[in-house]
Symmetry: C2
Subunit: 329 residues, 2 copies
């Protein structure tokens, strides 16, 4: 079975170092097969730092790069950019999935341009898994769909639920629509119309959820537009950093608290690992006719290797066949 | 000078116990003058538990209550509800401001109905102060304005900036418009138009900010619609609770971490006090022609007394005169 994953070696904040190390890790730990797409001399230079004996790692040259500052439309112009070439490999059947830590708008645009949308999907979305008290919650859209119609949110719910079912193995995932209150009369124009559509959907839909439900484990999938999704994610990251910084200041000011922190450190480290985004993998592109996983630009090699394994599983999970069936109905 | 604050004694989750204790605290600590508005026998029963010698506390009867489950429009029907009567006291000049821990939509509706809007204000807003790394950030709207026009966001920015200037004593508060990225090309239809208006505003406006900027201290005022504001607040509360719960689990599982926690406890307690919402006071109604402060439904007596002091300062800060001048231009 085809298992090669095309890894955009140039997209992230620390490319190609992290991508190469992540690929080596994924191949060694899980027997993945990787095609590193990018500037071959630079990639080879990084690869030389690793022992890759017995590992299936290929190189594929791409002369151009899309930076974090490029607009998504740059993928049209930059035909030989690493992210676009990575999707070309999927389109031609040489690879089964793409992983990139690059500009998420550009990754989405490249996937759309090269592989196209799955029939019936109006707007592809990006789903991000966040830790909750029991497990994890997938929130979508985290992508570029800032101005959505009710039918878009409806489709996000279908795609998110199917992903969680296939990839995380949960049956009948609980789906919630993010709103400013749980009661039906709450919401804005967009959510009120989307709520009416979702009530009739073939989903385990429980109605409106509030921001707090993202983290309390009461739902598996939270649906919102990409503007709200981005605010949600950035507020969460910013608050977590602020809590850590403020707590550190308080501890550093007190001798016994410093001693106490040293004793508690294994607990803090275990907590940090549990909420480490890397553990939850990258964010799948949903609705593109090709498997793509978006990683955080600052991903480390462990996050990258987990995302590479995840990309292979995503491509082979049966998700695409099910999605095509659901959207043909 | 008139200093009486009308306190809605019936609105909160623990009414009238918390309101009465908060009023007693505010009168004793800061010499406030309070009118407790609500079911007089119940309020008297609570008052009997306190020593109120020398304190200026009056009672004013109101036979009805608006519950958390009532819709804001219930204030039209419930003419003798405690929140509506509290605003009646401001309108008639018997009180200078209102404090309530009740249904925020109903508090806003009662303020609108009884006192009306300040001339020129299209939509009143609710502003909430959140702790940041250095100080605090005011986020608005946290109220019921879920579907906003660009001019509404523009006015929220003016009102939020004036409040921070007058009430928190900051000159030229830094104002940011919440978006899904800092670059000008980001944002949704609403923020892009509001951004154009704000660039021309008589404000210290720095353009788009992201969710993370709410907590890093880079701005004093963050403007968004009430839907996004609610999500931001609820996500923050939910994440803070989840972090606390997860960390507690990790600590409780380890003997030495439990010992360490005991040693570090003063640091944790100091941290908790710094992020305690009570310390930041209640949320002002902005744009209503009468001073109103909304408290969290689950406020404790300390939060309530701080809000009562805040309400008096709000009414007398010169904010209303300045706002009237700015909006007449």
């Amino acid at each position: 079975m085809l298992k090669k994953i095309a890894v955009d070696a140039m997209g992230g904040d620390n490319s190609p170092e992290v991508e190469v190390a992540g690929a080596v890790g994924a191949c060694r730990r899980w027997g993945c097969q990787v095609i590193l797409v990018g500037d071959t001399p630079r990639v080879q230079q990084e690869l030389a730092k690793h022992d890759i004996g017995g590992l299936h790692i290929e190189l594929h040259h791409a002369s151009d790069v899309i930076s974090m500052h490029d607009s998504p439309s740059a993928v049209r112009r930059k035909k030989d950019s690493s992210i676009r070439v990575a999707f070309d490999l999927v389109k031609s059947g040489s690879a089964t999935a793409v992983v990139s830590a690059g500009n998420s708008g550009a990754i989405m645009a490249a996937g759309m341009l090269v592989c196209g949308r799955i029939n019936g999907v109006e707007r592809p979305a990006i789903g991000t898994s966040l830790p909750n008290l029991n497990d994890q919650t997938m929130v979508l859209d985290m992508g570029a769909n800032v101005d959505c119609k009710p039918s878009h949110l409806y489709q996000f719910a279908l795609m998110g639920s199917l992903y969680v079912e296939h990839h995380l193995g949960k049956s009948r995932p609980r789906v919630g629509l993010l709103s400013n209150g749980a009661e039906e009369k709450k919401g804005n124009e967009l959510t009120r119309e989307a709520h009416l559509l979702l009530k009739e959907a073939p989903l385990n839909y429980g109605g409106y959820v509030e921001g707090g439900d993202v983290y309390n484990g009461s739902v598996d999938v939270v649906v919102c537009d990409g503007f709200v999704g981005n605010v949600l994610l950035k507020v969460s990251e910013g608050l977590a950093v602020a809590i850590g910084t403020m707590l550190k200041r308080e501890i550093e000011n007190r001798f016994w608290a410093r001693v106490g922190y040293l004793l508690s450190r294994p607990a803090f480290n275990s907590f940090k690992n549990k909420i480490n985004p890397a553990e939850y993998g990258g964010a799948p592109l949903l609705g593109i006719a090709g498997a793509g996983i978006v990683c955080h630009g600052s991903s480390d090699p462990v996050a990258m290797s987990i995302a590479i394994r995840q990309a292979g599983e995503y491509a082979q999970s049966g998700f695409f066949e099910r999605l095509a069936t659901v959207f043909q109905q």
